[in-house]
């Protein structure tokens, strides 16, 4: 049932949602679990570097695959304008966080593969620390609201 609830909400059917809510006065957290709005563009921009670094830490990748993976992992809630990824990648390359090489894919398509450098690993660790801190502060405050 909660799944239906979520998919309805996702299509923005506010009226149906209202009906569902009237019929099933379920608690709010189902709504908050399934109805996360699109992430704001400021947050998307700020999280681009840590996400790219963490993705590349798993192995080398190329622009298109990076975007697809972020999209899939966020359930389509993190909407990158595809072209905007490349300036970010180039800037990170300039700063010596990642390196790039041209290679051919198994289908014969030329691709630019990016991989993590040593400085990139250090930068990733710093990002993780900072984001964890922000998250723990937020989670702590949220917890206190329900006490």
């Amino acid at each position: 049932m909660s799944f239906d609830f979520g998919s309805l909400a996702e299509f923005g059917m506010e009226r149906e949602l209202f009906l569902w809510r009237a019929i099933f006065p379920l608690d709010i957290h189902i709504k908050s679990m399934y109805r996360v709005p699109m992430i704001r563009k400021e947050l998307v921009a700020a999280s681009a570097e840590p996400l790219i670094l963490s993705l590349l830490a798993k192995g080398e990748s190329y622009g298109y695959a990076i975007i697809q993976e972020v999209k899939a992992r966020s359930g389509g809630k993190m909407n990158w304008t595809d072209g905007m990824l490349y300036p970010v990648l180039h800037r990170m390359e300039r700063r010596g966080l990642i390196k790039a090489r041209w290679a051919e894919s198994e289908t014969g398509r030329k691709r630019k593969y990016y991989s993590l450098k040593k400085d990139g690993k250090a930068a990733m660790a710093r990002h993780h620390e900072q984001w964890s801190l922000v998250h723990s502060v937020l989670a702590g405050l949220k917890k206190e609201q329900y006490v």
Partner: protein, 218 residues
């Protein structure tokens, strides 16, 4: 009839017109566009529909170009840092070299008296202070945002300095009869110290503008 290759060629032209450079990064963006189109072929849309959708997803040329410009800016910052360091090294080496010549009485400095030596050393110190003073006190300089105006100030300052040197060497100097020691002191104070003023001013104006840009990020 919709021609995919022609549409991609047109899209490339739009990107180039917005200032996106070829082959990098345009090549990379085109590969991305083609991958997106390829993936959408499987969704059963018409060729034109998936081309339009892929183009829309990749974003507007001028917005992408704006982001790439920021990457260029960071590269320029690095170049500026290099120039600054080079400048600092050259001016300090120059000052040290002159100081060494004065102290160890090398070349024509052998004829200088000890008070002339002191005056020379103070002159060299003033030169170095003036040259680096601009950089150190760049917060007090006016911020000139337009690069052309900064360049114009720099060039006209340089021209003025050259003019002063010519006047001094060709007009003022021949009318006086200096001993070697006096000549050296005069050259140091009249030619080298103004050079320090010029270097300090140009360095300060440039550094002030760059600092402001770095802070506002624009």
């Amino acid at each position: 009839m919709f021609d995919l290759e022609q549409s991609i060629a047109d899209w490339r032209k739009q990107m180039l017109a917005a200032g996106i450079k070829s082959p990098v990064p345009l090549e990379e963006l085109e590969i991305h566009l083609r991958e997106e189109i390829e993936r959408q072929v499987k969704s059963g849309l018409s060729e034109q529909e998936f081309f339009n959708s892929a183009v829309q997803k990749i974003g507007q040329a001028h917005m992408i170009q704006n982001e790439f410009k920021k990457v260029e800016a960071t590269k320029e910052d690095r170049n500026w840092k290099f120039v600054e360091n080079l400048f600092a090294v050259v001016t300090s080496l120059f000052s040290l070299f002159l100081c060494g010549m004065v102290i160890f009485k090398m070349g024509s400095f052998s004829e200088a008296t000890s008070s002339q030596q002191t005056s020379c050393l103070v002159g060299i110190g003033t030169f170095a202070l003036l040259a680096w003073g601009g950089r150190l006190s760049c917060r007090m300089f006016p911020v000139v945002r337009a690069r052309q105006i900064r360049d114009a100030i720099c060039v006209s300052g340089g021209a003025l300095l050259m003019l002063w040197w010519m006047v001094f060497v060709h007009i003022i100097l021949p009318r006086h009869d200096f001993t070697t020691g006096k000549l050296l002191v005069t050259i140091l104070w009249v030619m080298i110290v103004p050079c320090g003023i010029f270097l300090g001013l140009s360095w300060g104006i440039e550094a002030a503008a760059r600092k402001k840009v770095a802070m506002t990020g624009s």
